[in-house]
């Protein structure tokens, strides 16, 4: 039911191509992140799936149904907007009840339709039916807001508004949940809590979720799979681990985690000369010639003494920085700069600017892109 398939999606604004052929394969129950820099077309993709944009070319399927010609209000996609887009004239309960009341208005008996319409116009015009009331309260309970049901939405904090928006989208039991940078308006601490909340709820309900973000950390920590986008195209679609370990392009490598990326010459398929400065062995195989090489900073080991083993090079520290639980060294090897990250533990040697050290780059960490 809840899988989402996008095939060759093209979206052309009058003169700008926003999407140039996007293919996505999102499995049922999957938490799927769309990751990419500003302006790459994440929002556009999501709006096409939700039905807010007329698509120029391509097909979109929700479950087995092709939804190209299905109006936005019949697609059954729950959407959480970046600005939450709560209805300011309704209280928390009415906001969450909206989709169910609208459903009654379209589907119910005539008496029910009239009553639903009256309730949409003013809450003074009638009480919600028991079943609907229960569903709404359950949804509010899921986001732990049942005690604020009668509050006006203007009197809520950012995080609470966010959770109302989530409950409002979830209550209609959509086939897909769409979230466009839902956490970007929250402060850092709250963002971390909400990440957990959203992920937990998603797991409990098992709902297919598409999550747009430009924050790689957010995507990496929450998603089952990630699609990295650039200039209206999908560059790579993979699990977080895969994306980190086997980025397909320098862009992905750079976007996902910190990285050393070099122009290199492959000498005999197993050895590469980096930046014309030093030679390392690799167990990736390519043809001889020009290539790009990625070495993750935390894959590099620091040795105090020179060692005869392969892939050990000497360098000089030009800068050392603490960030988070890590120390980061910028090391000059010849004229190339190698960034090294090491987890800080008491007792390990710490190097200062100007210190000499030896770096061991394991063969399997030298990735050819």
């Amino acid at each position: 039911m809840g899988s989402v398939t996008v095939k060759g999606l093209v979206k052309q604004y009058s003169d700008v191509p926003a999407l140039k052929g996007v293919d996505l394969n999102i499995r049922e129950g999957e938490f799927y992140a769309l990751l990419g820099p500003s302006g790459c077309g994440k929002t556009t993709t999501m709006r096409c799936i939700a039905g807010f944009e007329d698509i120029t070319e391509g097909d979109i399927y929700i479950g087995a149904q092709r939804v190209n010609d299905v109006a936005a209000n019949r697609r059954n996609c729950g959407m959480v907007f970046q600005s939450y887009a709560l209805f300011p004239h309704y209280n928390v309960f009415e906001n969450v009840a909206y989709s169910l009341t609208v459903r009654d208005l379209y589907r119910g008996s005539y008496g029910k339709r009239v009553k639903s319409f009256a309730r949409l116009m003013s809450k003074k015009l009638g009480k919600p039916p028991k079943e609907l009331y229960q569903k709404v309260m359950d949804a509010l309970q899921t986001v732990e807001l049942d005690h604020l049901a009668e509050r006006g939405v203007g009197e809520l904090s950012g995080g609470q508004q966010q959770r109302v928006a989530l409950a409002r989208a979830l209550v209609m039991e959509p086939a897909v949940l769409l979230m466009d940078e839902p956490l970007s308006n929250l402060d850092k601490k709250l963002r971390n809590t909400m990440r957990t909340t959203i992920r937990t709820i998603q797991q409990e309900i098992g709902i297919t979720t598409i999550f747009v973000t430009h924050d790689q950390e957010e995507a990496m920590s929450m998603a089952d799979r990630i699609a990295v986008m650039k200039d209206g195209e999908i560059v790579q679609q993979a699990t977080p681990t895969e994306l980190y370990g086997k980025p397909l392009t320098p862009f992905v490598a750079d976007f996902v985690g910190s990285s050393n990326i070099y122009d290199a010459t492959v000498i005999d398929g197993r050895q590469v000369k980096i930046n014309d400065q030093f030679v390392v062995h690799t167990n990736g195989v390519t043809e001889n010639g020009e290539a790009k090489v990625l070495i993750r900073p935390e894959g590099i080991k620091i040795l105090r003494e020179h060692s005869e083993s392969r892939n050990v090079i000497e360098g000089k520290v030009t800068m050392s920085t603490y960030f988070g639980p890590n120390i980061r060294y910028d090391v000059n090897v010849g004229e190339a700069t190698v960034v090294v990250e090491q987890e800080f533990e008491p007792g390990i040697p710490v190097y200062d600017q100007g210190d000499h050290l030896f770096l061991h780059i394991p063969e399997e960490r030298v990735l050819l892109l």
């Binding site: 209000n73 019949r74 959407m79 887009a85 909206y98 609208v102 209609m172």
Partner: protein
Amino acid sequence: MIEKHKKPTRFQRLRNWDSLKLLKYAVIGFFALFLMIPLLSVFIVSFTGEPVNLFGSFVNPEILSTNIERLQNASFEHYANLFSSGSVYLSALNNSLLLSILVSVIVIVMCLPIAYAFARTAMPFKKTLAALCTMPIIVPTFISAAGFIIMFGRTGWVTHVFNTMLGTEGAIFNVYSMLGIILVQVFFFFPFALWPMVAAFKIADLSVEEASRNLGAKSWSTMVFVTLPLALPGMISSALLIFTVSFSDFGTPIILAPDGLNLIVVQAYREISGFFNWAGASILTVIMVIVAAIFFWLQRLATKGKDYGTVSGKPKKVKLNAKKAVTLPLFTYTSLVVLLPVLTVFSVFIQSIATTWGRDLLPRGFTLDHYATIFTRSTDNIMNSIILASGALVISVIVATLVSYFVVRQNATKLDFIASIPLVVPGIALGIAFIQTFNTAPLQLTGTAFLLIVAYAIRRMPYMIRSTMGSMMAIRSDIEEASVNLGASRLLTLTTIVGPLMLPGIVAGSILVFVTVIKETSVTILLAPSEWAPMSLMVFQNILRGQMYTASAMAILIIGVVLILQLVANRLTKNSLY
């Protein structure tokens, strides 16, 4: 498994057919039927000289062939006659232009010190004077004109006082003249110019002024050489606005213009209601619309990129001039200017409670009989006004809300343009266009209350749209998308989300529609069937018949209703001028 790519069935296409699209066509149809086609048919008739039944052409081939024949006879003959010397039309146009130019120049000169006083000085009683300087525009002009007759007519009380003091005989000046019309328009239209000028003075770059003063310039020379030029675009725009208002005004000239004085609005009215002269009425209508459009366009040009109409929420702190030598003369001057409109309305009031009044300062005695009369014998007129105004209100609320929606959300610029055309169509012109278009089958609507209601709605539409568009723009589009996402159609979203959020703007706008319809005269006189005569028409007819007492009582009732509703509307939009 994924289904094969299938074409949507007809049923699906029908279901997905946006009901809003239908509404959009309905709105466009409304404007086509009641604005574009009437204007077009007047334009055609101005060449053919004989009525052309556009709607008839569609249903009846006979009518079509007559029309084609008439079109073949179309010529510039009627326009040529217009410009031949000694033509009545030409003198009407000349007189009207002269009147409007004089009124706008006098208004600007008269308002200069007052605008300066409000913008830059700590004049005493500023709030009270501001209220009094707004009041004149809510008084319908035919009532102001009647007030002038009560004061300055041959038996007017001012005339009497004047004559006793100087021992003279006869009127101070003849109210039934160009001068009378000019005075009424100047003293009752000046607020239209005053408040934009106050805004212009406030906005004019203060730093430049201060620099000039620091360089040692005297404050009067700063005023003349720096402040005035900076405020000039605002003043020019105000002058052009006054021109258009004066040019389209019907209430003053119809009461005060003597037989020998041709004015275009009066002439057009006579052509259509007196002589049924289609050619003449059409030509005058076309000319009125063209002149009003040109001046409207010039006014837009003068204010391009500058928002003089609104005083922004955070005005710069101006150091107000508090010198007694400046503020006292300004206070005296401003009070004298507002004294005339205040006295005029007061005279109407006294007349409405007088037993007999004339050739004396005071009435013989006081009575409430005239009010009793209007509340017993004229309840029909009161009811008619309420029904007609409510009808116009409903139509304009619906159409204006939809237009704002299409303009703001779907960027319907053409619709925006069409909906603002009524701004340049004087009431008399619209009335004539309606009579010509709807006086024969298949769409014979002349003489129905419906046509009158539509005419009111069309005339007030641009103002209503301005009011609803403002609140529409304040609604973020993602709120609507959220509603659609939650399963509501665009139409349901418009009803449950957009409508309620726009409500304050809609209410304020519709009160203003109600108010202006109650005051309206020009369209009313041309289109109101006798069984639907509203209050304004009753006042008008009573003035013409010389029944000043009941006319005054009804006039005071109108002013009272208008005043109260206007205050409510201002409260709602919080758009106080001060």
